[in-house]
Symmetry: C2
Subunit: 270 residues, 2 copies
């Protein structure tokens, strides 16, 4: 069995699948590409993960995540994240900017700081051969997780920096509601900024805390194929990661999660 070439399975979709089983499961399913997360790869061992993935012949499409520029040690932490991406062979480090600093209401200042912080990381990222990808999250995360809330804003933040070092993430879950998103995807293409394309579906009702309520492709209301067509029309031909956070899904066996993810991808994205 072989999965479609461009499909990449983001590890977060099966958060509790141990890395050796995840790697074996992907090989078994003919999946050639993986998106990885720092927490899980560090818990298993960075070098061990890199070796396991390499020996299995899998490509790593992205590492999640750097960012959280509202924390005091953001500079060192993001340099470490860049180094880890390089060790894993991930071409892209996804940046989730972090929310407002504790007690602050100054959104403009927080956003300006994100832009400066990314600039400060550019030399290290370039030296490591890792592209930074600014991810706009859904506006419901603006206060506590990511002050970057639209694709247009992510592109504005990326603009001062070279496109081969700083790009953006297009994630259907976070952007589907935005009536400007099609124009901004076209702009992202013109500016050569699309570094990563992630797919999840929007379902309601949202759970408490709103983090773990995403749907597999086809379970919700997002025009996923329209997004795929739009990023392709914008010149993006890279991996298509499916990244779904859902508590109920996470409780299932990894092989089942991967099979359902692939089925949703084939029916609604491919």
């Amino acid at each position: 069995m072989t999965a479609p070439d461009r499909f990449s399975f983001n590890q977060a979709t099966a958060k509790y699948w141990p890395i050796p089983e995840l790697v074996a499961g992907c090989v078994e399913a003919g999946v050639g590409q993986l998106g990885l997360w720092r927490e899980e790869t560090n818990a298993y061992g960075l070098d061990k993960t890199a070796e396991l993935v390499r020996d299995a012949g899998l490509a790593v499409t992205s590492l999640c995540r750097g960012g959280f520029f509202n924390t005091p040690d953001w500079y060192d932490e993001n340099r470490r994240a860049i180094d880890e991406a390089a060790v894993l062979g991930a071409p892209v480090l996804v940046l989730v900017s972090g929310g407002l600093p504790e007690g602050s209401r100054d959104l403009d200042a927080a956003r300006a700081h994100v832009g400066e912080a990314i600039g400060a990381l550019v030399p290290h990222a370039r030296a490591a051969g890792v592209r930074l990808a600014i991810e706009p999250l859904h506006p419901m995360f603006c206060s506590d997780r990511c002050v970057v809330a639209s694709l247009g804003q992510a592109l504005d933040l990326a603009a001062p920096y070279p496109a081969d070092v700083v790009g953006v993430v297009v994630d259907t879950y976070h952007l589907w509601w935005d009536d400007q998103v099609w124009a901004q995807i076209a702009r992202a293409g013109r500016e050569d900024r699309i570094a990563c394309f992630q797919v999840a579906d929007w379902i309601t009702p949202l759970p408490e805390g709103v983090l773990l309520g995403r749907g597999l492709p086809g379970e919700g209301c997002v025009e996923l194929r329209r997004f795929r067509d739009a990023v392709e029309a914008a010149g993006y031909t890279g991996p298509i990661e499916v990244e779904v956070f859902h508590a109920g899904l996470w409780a299932r066996p990894g092989t089942e999660i991967l099979a359902r993810t692939l089925a949703g991808y084939l029916a609604h994205v491919d």
Copy 2:
């Protein structure tokens, strides 16, 4: 005791306060303006509510809500809502557009339908002397409650219609995350579209379903006074409604809710 002239207490902030007590409580607190809701006014009696409010010398600043254009009877239902606003003396009917039709993923079509539906209501609204106010809700409500997700989009939808009949709502809770909001408020002023200004604060974590998690002014992270300054700079000198949905707040006595609302307004908006 007299509350600030421009303050208006939206009934939804004390959802379970019976209307006679609400009216008496406002008079007692020196509050001269109220925002009302259809469900509650119809349950108590439309004419009875209108008489009670008028006899108490209170002004009605808005009626919530029309809209929900994704329901089959939207046309008749919205004409009724316009008539009710006229009976209550509410100069403004707030329109919450409704989400996607059941099973649909066609957001563009749903949005186009909203624009056409509003156009169909213009003659009746004009005849009744009621201004329709398109309310963009936070994008987290886009699929199931309101496909209008930004102020810019609301203004685009209003654009074909005369500004004295079709305006927009600026609600801090729904719009605070948007980096375009300041430019769009200025545009709303230039186009003379600001029909209603509502204030609530953004707090986290969001509760399940995300509807009942708003904060009183000052409890959250929104730059409320900046919003007030922005709508004033755009030429808006009308009422400032505080409208907060929060299950815990609703459980408190109405007099306490009103006192806390006023205190938050004085400290963070006035």
